[in-house]
């Protein structure tokens, strides 16, 4: 606006040389970032830790403004909203009672079956102090980092469901890759048949279901939860419901990740599951009757720890009493007693 009214202060030629230099710098930065992303991530974490007070300070007035703008619009619908909330509250109370009864029942069943208890999950609450919503990027910055026990890979949820997972942590800040981001891949389980699949973000509001087993038919409204595969995320975190999109399936997320302000970061404490040690009898070489190979310790690997195995039980037929020798003369009696149709 009005650009033509001002005099241009400098001729065009003077800026050409630095333009070439900074263009080369930009290309170099992309290449270095591609080759050494961890280097840039460390720098990024340090810079944002340093900028954290500014981000928090910027957040406060904007949050107030956002709330004020939102409240102005809500004045006109407050009566209807109140009625709706009362109705919803009544329904939720019923569900609450049902949930308590079911929880007690599950505990009884677990005791009866000696079921393994669920892994303990602790959580930290953090505030969202930054959010990038760009065409190819959906991330968040939280005001909690390694000093608060946050580690990369942890799940981030709000009161409705999963939002994303932590992918980078600084001392006081951490980055979250949202479920809708292009680079997000989450192993999920689709109820009620616990069909396993991968949910992939494509920067649209609803992530896509990928790598579903052939022939599996999903239905709209099927619930999607985390599967817990790989021990990265806890199993059973609600994510959303299935929505058909032509030949593909998408997931309508429970959580609105664009409006979440306070989130929970789940610390999944299940120890990694190791496969049981191999016994010598189970090794294919031993099973084939060949001598076992010498352990190769020169590669820095410790020799496999073999469990002492009891000798395999050998099948022994049940002991049978030795046949009784017939007394002389008895055989003739017996032969006489048994009719021999062939001879007679």
């Amino acid at each position: 606006m009005g650009n033509g009214t001002w005099r241009i202060s400098r001729s065009r030629g003077g800026a050409h040389l630095p333009l070439v230099i900074v263009a080369a710098l930009a290309v170099a930065l992309i290449l270095i970032g591609k080759a050494q992303s961890s280097l840039f991530d460390r720098a990024r974490a340090g810079i944002v830790d340093w900028m954290r007070p500014a981000l928090v300070a910027t957040r406060t007035p904007m949050e107030a403004l956002n709330r004020w703008v939102g409240s102005v619009g809500e004045i006109f619908v407050v009566y209807q909203e109140n009625l709706r909330l009362k109705e919803e509250n009544a329904r939720l109370r019923q569900w609450h009672n049902t949930a308590l009864v079911l929880q007690d029942r599950i505990k009884r069943y677990q005791l009866l079956l000696h079921a393994v208890p669920d892994p303990s999950i602790s959580s930290s609450v953090a505030r969202v102090i930054g959010r990038a919503s760009h065409p190819f990027l959906q991330t968040m910055i939280l005001d909690a980092g390694t000093a608060d026990g946050i580690k990369p890979g942890q799940a981030v949820v709000d009161q409705r469901g999963m939002i994303g997972r932590v992918f980078l942590t600084g001392q006081r800040t951490s980055w979250v890759i949202l479920l809708t981001d292009l680079n997000s891949r989450i192993p999920v389980s689709i109820e009620p048949n616990t069909d396993q699949a991968i949910m992939a973000g494509d920067n649209s509001p609803m992530p896509v279901i990928e790598t579903l087993a052939r022939g599996v038919q999903l239905h709209e409204g099927d619930q999607v939860v985390t599967s817990g595969d790989g021990d990265i995320l806890p199993a059973g975190i609600p994510i959303g419901v299935i929505v058909a999109d032509g030949p593909r399936y998408r997931v309508n997320l429970f959580a609105d990740q664009t409006t979440a302000q306070d989130v929970q970061i789940l610390d999944f404490k299940q120890p990694p599951e190791h496969p049981p040690a191999v016994s010598p009898g189970e090794l294919p070489v031993t099973a084939a009757g060949l001598p076992p190979a010498v352990a190769q310790t020169n590669q820095g690997l410790p020799p496999p720890q073999l469990q002492p195995v009891a000798p395999k039980p050998v099948y022994k037929p049940p002991s049978v009493a030795p046949p009784v020798q017939p007394a002389p003369g008895t055989a003739d009696d017996n032969s006489d007693s048994v009719p021999d149709n062939g001879d007679r």
Binding site: M1, S9, V22, I32, G33, A132, P135, I141, S204, T258
Partner: protein, 179 residues
């Protein structure tokens, strides 16, 4: 106010502070872009606020918005957005190159023409960003997000341009470049 600014410039190094206004506004644009709030609701990308001061002062005072500053603003944008490094920086530098080559044409525009001029720069930025991402990820990316980003940035430039013009007249304009 103008006298106060000039006095500051002569006495307390206020000229330096005044000269940093375009860059500071670019950094403010980066911060606003990455705020955890959106006035456009859920699924419209954040506008490229940082591009607006870059375009504006690249035309009217290129000595205060050099390519180096455009690159620096882009790097800060990369840092705050959490994306791959260098992509915003390269996009802003590419856009700067377009504006720089067509400065005479852009600077002659006024009114709606100036808005169209900025829309051209925003289109260059979105296109550069899209192409760089496609090469970086080595696959064809969806284009709808870039179109939305271009549209919302172009529309928002209308009110922001008035604000930038006011700031320029009030603070930056009185201290003319000596180049």
């Amino acid at each position: 106010m103008r006298c106060a600014v000039e006095r500051l410039g002569g006495v307390m190094g206020g000229k330096f502070l005044t000269n940093t206004i375009p860059v500071l506004l670019g950094l403010l644009g980066v911060a606003i872009t990455n705020l955890p709030f959106s006035i456009f609701g859920s699924w419209i990308p954040s506008p490229m606020y940082a591009l607006m001061p870059i375009y504006f002062w690249c035309l009217v005072r290129p000595d205060l918005m050099s390519p180096g500053w455009a690159f620096a603003i882009g790097v800060i944008h990369d840092v705050l957005s959490g994306g791959p490094p260098g992509i915003w920086a390269a996009s802003f530098v590419a856009t700067y190159a377009v504006i720089d080559r067509q400065r005479d044409a852009f600077a002659g525009l006024s009114g709606w023409g100036a808005i169209l001029g900025f829309a051209t720069a925003a289109l260059a930025a979105c296109t550069a960003q899209y192409l760089i991402y496609c090469i970086y990820m080595w696959r064809l990316m969806p284009v709808s997000g870039s179109i939305k980003e271009f549209a919302v940035t172009s529309v928002l430039y209308i009110p922001v341009a008035f604000l930038l013009a006011w700031i320029h007249h009030r603070f930056v304009g009185p201290l003319r470049s000596e180049i």
